[in-house]
Symmetry: D2
Subunit: 363 residues, 4 copies
């Protein structure tokens, strides 16, 4: 469905950028999980605008409220309602867009699909829609950590043509969060900041890539055909605003290798468990995790909202020139990191629960 994600750990989100509230209903969360409002708020704070000069100056408090499903600090096993009120709405700043289709935005396609549109902001196409995902994923992340020992960590790998050098096995949350850009390579981070500042000054915007790893994933998660682990990651990550590409393991670069170069040789590991000496597979073989680190990559286009004048058309079908104002990110990459992690957490938690319902007979 349009606003639902997952099979067993399943979420339904709602909320426009400028309506009354955004939120999520989490269904299928296991009971007895200790979870606090603060743990959910932590990831929301990483997602929200106004964290640094690199992001939009809109100040959104984004304080989450738990409406149901948690009792005396533990989940009940029933549906969890989470809501975040919209506060800093300035619909008037969107009056310009009421009858004009912003290029490479969802204005025209929303109108084409629905014949109606909440022009006071981006509606469901706003990045604000991701609040529900991030809030729900904070719960999924806790399950993965507590019950399965899985850690999910993302970072900004590139901005425009600036590429970072990051050790996927050792990079930490602290290193990522130490940089406004969420790029843990300090030198690259500095260059990225400069590039973003320059883009903002000239009324332009930049794109880039986010990498994300999942460490500690046991072998056996995922399905062999349509719901391959990489297929569900791809769906989740390509559903993020501005995503244009997805890779697992070697990705597109792998197409320029030969089979002999690309195959990951197995060697005996601890306890007889097969391990690989390379990881071009990105931790997934045939749709199922192999126990190695999962490596994912997402491409985000440069932000569509820019201050420069652009040619476009209005609802009457006439050519017009648009000069956007409003408050927007010149580069979504730093804020995209918690969104990427969110979709990875939701997908992994779902598949981890699903495997519990598969492996029920004695081995």
């Amino acid at each position: 469905m349009a606003s639902q994600f997952g099979t067993l750990f399943r979420i339904a989100t709602f909320g426009e950028s400028h309506g009354g509230a955004v939120g999520v209903v989490v269904d299928g969360c296991p009971p007895r999980l200790a979870i606090s409002r603060d743990e959910i708020q932590f990831d929301l704070d990483r997602r929200r605008p106004g964290q640094s000069r690199l992001t939009t100056p809109r100040q959104e408090d984004d304080q989450v409220e738990i409406l149901s499903g948690v009792f005396e600090g533990r989940t009940l096993g029933t549906s969890i309602g989470l809501v975040v009120r919209n506060k800093d709405a300035r619909p008037s700043s969107y009056e310009d867009f009421k009858d004009v289709f912003r290029p490479s935005h969802a204005d025209y396609t929303t109108e084409a699909k629905y014949g109606i549109r909440n022009w006071q902001g981006g509606g469901r196409a706003s990045a604000r829609e991701t609040i529900g995902r991030v809030a729900a994923a904070a719960i999924a992340r806790k399950i993965l950590k507590e019950a399965a020992g899985i850690e999910v960590l993302g970072w900004v790998q590139s901005v425009h043509d600036i590429e970072a050098d990051v050790d996927r096995d050792r990079v930490t949350l602290e290193q990522v969060e130490a940089q406004d850009t969420r790029c843990p390579d300090a030198a690259a981070a500095t260059a990225m900041e400069e590039a973003i500042d320059a883009a903002r000054e000239r009324g332009d915007s930049l794109g880039g890539t986010v990498e994300c790893v999942a460490r500690g994933v046991p072998a056996g998660l995922g399905e062999p055909v349509f719901e391959k682990l990489e297929a569900d990651f791809a769906q989740g990550l390509m559903s993020l605003p501005a995503a244009k590409g997805f890779e697992v393991g070697s990705g597109f670069a792998g197409t320029r290798m030969t089979g002999l170069e690309h195959n990951d040789p197995f060697v005996p590991g601890e306890g007889g468990r097969p391990r690989t000496t390379s990881n071009y597979s990105g931790g997934i073989q045939g749709g199922i995790s192999n126990g190695e680190r999962i490596d994912l990559r997402v491409a985000f286009k440069p932000t569509a909202t820019i201050r420069s004048a652009q040619n476009t058309v209005n609802r009457a079908g006439e050519a017009v020139v648009l000069e956007a104002r409003g408050r927007h990110d010149p580069c979504v990459l730093p804020r995209a990191v918690p969104m990427v992690e969110a979709m990875v957490c939701l997908t992994l938690c779902d598949h981890w629960l699903r495997q519990r319902a598969v492996d029920v007979l004695p081995r």
Copy 2:
């Protein structure tokens, strides 16, 4: 679910590479569609091995039988059962793999997940699994063509480091099928054939990319949040065997453009319909089609089965050297084309039907 794909136009596939049969149940197909066994067989013939010297010499007849859901040449609206018997099984040629995990195959992950494995071939991880998808998609393709005027066409865009030059607006099925490689750029096709021959001779394999376009898609298909059109394409395409990456429109290259360069300006088109002067969006904005050509790209890794000796482990956890025999493709790209088209057809048909159930009130 593991073996199901789609929401309204929904398929459930079954079958191992060396069991009794492979097949599919198609649910949600509109009634009164004229469809013949030959139309389904046409795409299966494009998918099967043994078409040319470029593919595995296994001769699989892959004759499809319609078991239900079609009456006097038209669909009944009820579930359609399609089955293809497995004929050319030589389980003995797989004896070598019974206790050995082939590198970068699904042998180990299948064993880890299920604790059991049909070692006589690749089980569900075999490319033979895609027969059900391709058969079902032939029906979806017919609906798209007849009822919506949509055409889906894929081709081999690159093999290893050989890249084709193809006009996405004008390329035809005939041009694609005229080449054993399914690369419509004749010069690139020749180079690809030579590279594939060379790889086979030295016991190695090659990967590459498939591009796919959908022409004639109306604006308004797709969903704004999780089931964005590109997200569902990504899931479908990343569920194909050997897929490692997915792009829509500008893809990863788009991350190196600025917003000003990347935004697709709108201009007034025929009948007042907004058109874009560039197509970095790939025909989708905010998860919803904008009426332009849809551009997709999939990366396929080099075939994991190679004839060269490789280090691996057996089920007992011991290091062994594997020298694979059997009959396999040195390059899956030519046969991947109908598989890519199949997932695009299934996804588009599903969203086209879904939009019929959304747009029900007067505009």
Copy 3:
């Protein structure tokens, strides 16, 4: 999923009886439907306690707030968030039940399933859970009325051994709402009131049946196999608290008829449309509506919460005597009427939209 209902018109509910709020996310609602908060509130007011002396004296305001999905009085086509704050919570009055399993309540089964329980009220097993259903169904009802000309109407058909005499073709909402019991047969209504009063006085409770009709349903809604229209009605209605039985058309009484008596003869109707001269089928044949009035019936057990002393056990497994206090309905039937209508509206709206996605090729 636990808290989700429907395929295309799909809802996800949340909320315990004594948590922060109850609510619902409605996904798949067609765009451009005119809907006001008052229209949703109307059905909620019919559902809430404290309407008359026949129902629990708890005063619940149950004011619904629209959080998203509606703009300038019309639906956007995107997910609609509805929330009702919990106000009149007196957790202390539930202290008695903290460690005691009330007979024929969900206390023990909740504990068995989840190992945790919100003992401050009935949790998700509370009738308060139905607020989300009723709110969402008010929207479904509007679609059915506006777009399809379908009217759904329920009433109390029996309380204990008092059976009403109601004309299914002519009974009106006004006649139903004119009675505190929601039984439109005035004589039976009076007898029911007396019986309910007597039961309350002696600390006991009563059950009964609700009948519901859908008038104006076109032929062709429903599916031929698992999602037969009557099967989906049955699931929806048997998911209501306290439901113990379901009938369509002749129901159990039909088992004592012969085929010759039970078959509904067809006769030519207006415009050549086949009509039936009897309606033992209840408007559905082979899972699909036949254009006649749909007749449904639901059995509700007597309320489990009674004031009389009862034998039970506590969480330690010891025998104890329970004397319930708290504020409860001696008979849920009057309030069950809008709940029954809600599930019928949700099911019909879903199938009506689904049929739009089936009937897409020229006839």
Copy 4:
């Protein structure tokens, strides 16, 4: 979807009564279950016509073939394809129905929904459609027995006005199968046989009820809101051909009891587990199993196909008189027993697996 049932243990069926084959794809079956073709065939033999003079004389072999998903006698965990060829088709005997709508059949509603109909038999509305359900349920039954110690048993409780007296705790499969009627009360069985014979002779038909118990169900299966255990049973059972009513526990009779009479008192049981001294709840409280015997009841209308002349209309909208020939059951009840058991097994197996994915954190 139309032809799919279940969430984790999920089936997709196909096949008309007179097409090439009927069958089913079973998705989500746990791996390593020992299952043989004979175990599946056993239940199919109970379902098929021609078992005794009480059922239609059509001789259907109904030999099931396993096409995939089972290897060396054990399930692989991947999708299982099962198919049964249609053999005894005599389309000519249906020529009479080509343009005539049989009263209380699905002929007219199928035509209304789809605008096309396989008139050679009942299409998907034929009882032959249930072959796929019964075949799949034989696997579910084995899981329930082997892994959970659950036994599902049904029998004919009434035919027309003849009611059986059966001990729900002690009745056995042998007692049921010893009677052609599948009514384990020998005296009632004899009376039922005479009534069925008499109905056949006069060209009429009879209905009745099937009861079904599930013994050994652990407490904790089911969901608290929409997918209550009784709601999913109701959907499954009301999706059987000719079903008109459903009851759990006290059912409709429970509406004539008071709360004091109806509540099931808890007493301490073995190991401190709460047990009830009565079972009006039918083993389910608040949608979740309570560890007591599950009691279900389904009403089946008298067979619609009768030999007597009936008034009806044809496709041209003209009044005609129909005198059906063909070979049909004067009473479906005996053959309905394995169908009822099938839906109960499928539902219970699904919920048993689902609970495995819920109860994952330490208690």
